[in-house]
Symmetry: C2
């Protein structure tokens, strides 16, 4: 068994951003270009295809994250390996499980985490400026976090009145968590609180809905697992141009200091 110092491989944990090539950083592309092995969910690998010629590509399906992390580490002992996530690899992505397994196995491999544009910022950019100040991101997936913990967090943050970005708002296995979250929001925030639904942010099939907490029920069917939902805070408001609803603005507070 080689000592730690003898490992010759490397492992890059790479965030790809929202999906399209024009939102992938040069650093992320370089990490992929330098790798002999590229691992990731197939939906993230498809846009990379022109880059993957001559590489070993190991695509897997959702729910196999632990196996994928172990496989990446095994390969990275002697090879240059990139493991990719959508968005930022550190936010509901592969970074934590890879590092946990790495620590557990005591594998001293050179690791680089390459950050990417996370879904919160990608989605926000499509609906104005809803996250201009303090905000929280909460996942509605109860696969790894108990639902009562999610509810406690939502309740506390809606009470506080800062904007909340909901990741994983709906999937086949948990169709009701979004309605639950909206119910908790309505306990603390008025019906005019703006809500944005952004599906496939910055991809070709993008769809956005800007509505309010009072009317969200009419749009809830539009939400799927590729959607990010942004619930505004107490200071957020609809951004209008004439009669058109353009998005959400959460003012940073300049209006308290300046006249404009």
């Amino acid at each position: 068994m080689p000592s730690h110092a003898e490992t010759t491989g490397s492992l890059a944990i790479v965030g790809l951003g929202p999906g399209k090539r024009e939102y992938i950083t040069p650093r992320a592309l370089k990490a992929i270009a330098s790798a002999g092995y590229v691992l990731g969910h197939s939906s993230y690998l498809v846009p990379l295809e022109p880059l993957l010629a001559g590489k070993q590509v190991i695509s897997s399906s959702m729910g196999k994250e632990v196996d994928r992390a172990k496989q990446a580490i095994d390969l990275a002992r002697n090879n240059h390996v990139a493991i990719v996530s959508g968005g930022d690899a550190g936010v509901y992505g592969m970074a934590s499980i890879v590092l946990e397994v790495l620590e557990h196995e005591g594998a001293d491999i050179a690791v680089e985490i390459v950050p990417g544009v996370t879904a919160a910022n990608a989605a926000a950019s499509r609906v104005g400026s809803p996250l201009s100040g303090d905000y929280a991101t909460i996942s509605l997936s109860d696969l790894l976090t108990p639902l009562e913990v999610i509810e406690e967090r939502l309740d506390a943050i809606f009470r506080l009145g800062i904007p909340v970005v909901l990741y994983n708002p709906k999937s086949r296995g948990r169709p009701h968590n979004l309605a639950l979250a909206m119910g908790l929001a309505a306990k603390h925030l008025g019906p005019d609180t703006p809500v944005a639904i952004v599906k496939n942010a910055l991809r070709d099939d993008e769809e956005t809905v800007v509505t309010t907490l009072g009317k969200i029920e009419q749009s809830m069917d539009a939400v799927d697992m590729h959607t990010t939902v942004i619930v505004g805070g107490r200071e957020s408001r609809i951004w209008r141009m004439g009669d058109d609803v353009k998005g959400i603005i959460t003012p940073r507070g300049y209006h308290r200091k300046y006249v404009y």
Copy 2:
């Protein structure tokens, strides 16, 4: 006065990420390349210099955001304009004030917001995976938000026990807000709670410190206005390899479902 439909300009509100070219998305570069006018704080414009030849460059200092927004909009009525922010333009960046002024002036200009890698994700990538699950971002600047509101938010979120990213942790005008925040954290979280200090994330002069809430006082002098501070949550822990402290892991919860 021309009607709205007659405006011929455009306005891109562009997030540059942590600073170096390799973390700027191709979309952001393209928005700058297409612009005749580029506006921003001088520290963000310097790394772009090779791209700025032949353009009108208007650099300004911190604290002139309202004037810069107005100027960008005036120019964008008849010109292609890019206004740049560090990180993501929508997170404590220029997006909200530009949209507020745009709405107020009723200027119907084609606007694109180009997201970037925000400081939370850039900093996190340098210290493991501290933000793997739910988290909040809070600015300690009381220039635009009253200090008592910031305290209320910190108190509620530390109580909840999710990781918190502190933007603007310290500046000459508010040297004590960080100590205040750490005091609030210590009310709710144990002394072993990991804390990361990341100065100049992903830039040449980067410095990182990984410590704990119990020992943060010894490192507080390292924090300045170019620093992001990450306070772990109740589930976060120090990431070690042998005797080395490598960073912070906030487990996503796979350990509750899988053996690895």
